[in-house]
Symmetry: C2
Subunit: 146 residues, 2 copies
Amino acid sequence: MHAELQIDNQICFRLYSAARLVTQSYTPMLNALGITYPQYLVLMVLWEKDCQPVNDIAHRLLLETNTVTPLLQRMEKQGTIKRKKGEQDKRQHIVSLTEKGKALEQKAYELIPTGMGEQMAACPLKLKDYQNLARELDSIINTLKK
Amino acid sequence: MHAELQIDNQICFRLYSAARLVTQSYTPMLNALGITYPQYLVLMVLWEKDCQPVNDIAHRLLLETNTVTPLLQRMEKQGTIKRKKGEQDKRQHIVSLTEKGKALEQKAYELIPTGMGEQMAACPLKLKDYQNLARELDSIINTLKK
DNA sequence: TAACAATATATCGCACACGATATTATTTTT
DNA sequence: AAAAATAATATCGTGTGCGATATATTGTTA
């Protein structure tokens, strides 16, 4: 038995599990909004800056377009975003929010911070711990992203 | 624009991205072993203790059986594990390593710590940072797991 | 300017995750 | 002990992620 290969010694397994569990804990609130977690990420990107090409959204989320394109297609079908051909560059598809997509921002603001706060209430981490966590994760992300 | 809904302010997005990027950085080594990351997790669980029912593996990985069952079916097809009906409890399926599955431990030990070390070499985090990160992630996991 | 390379997006196939439901065996209750 | 509840696993459908490839448009180069 190699200690290096024990699952409890692995940062990676902790990341994998923590990411899944946190995403799961968003689910009740996101269900109330009728969206999934990756769709919520796309909406956050567009709430911050509307009308972006597919590539910019993908870069922001550190995803490939072969993940983002079908995601956007599903969102368009659900009516939260719309896409139109770029005018200068006809290869681009510019993604923008519909009224429904814009309206979800206020609902998300009402549901999600409160809902997550409740679920994390029992967590012993303090503000400083979350700040450290953010810095550590940013180091890993910056080391590994292309 | 609600600051709470900005993607850069979210621990969740950092977790989601870091988990994907770290898993991606395992991929070259895992490809050399002919397995995927979730399959590697199952193997680590079995390297630690062979012959376990599906439920124990699922609990260990914080996954549901509807994720683990197809994963094990694919692994059985690839010849790294085998399954047999439980003898005391005939509802159970006991999962065990094949010779091929056992042999992968040594290959993993030779490839993975070195390979990950190289990819993380430029990361500014020190041992103490990784220890803090592990503690913080464990707090989140323990708060959210059922 | 015609050929070629690069860019933006899409399509395809496969392997997860996970909610919902089904199936089989065991345990508990009546 | 027969019926009901529970437990262990499997099946099904949908939505990601991602490697590989295709298509359309733009930029570059001989």
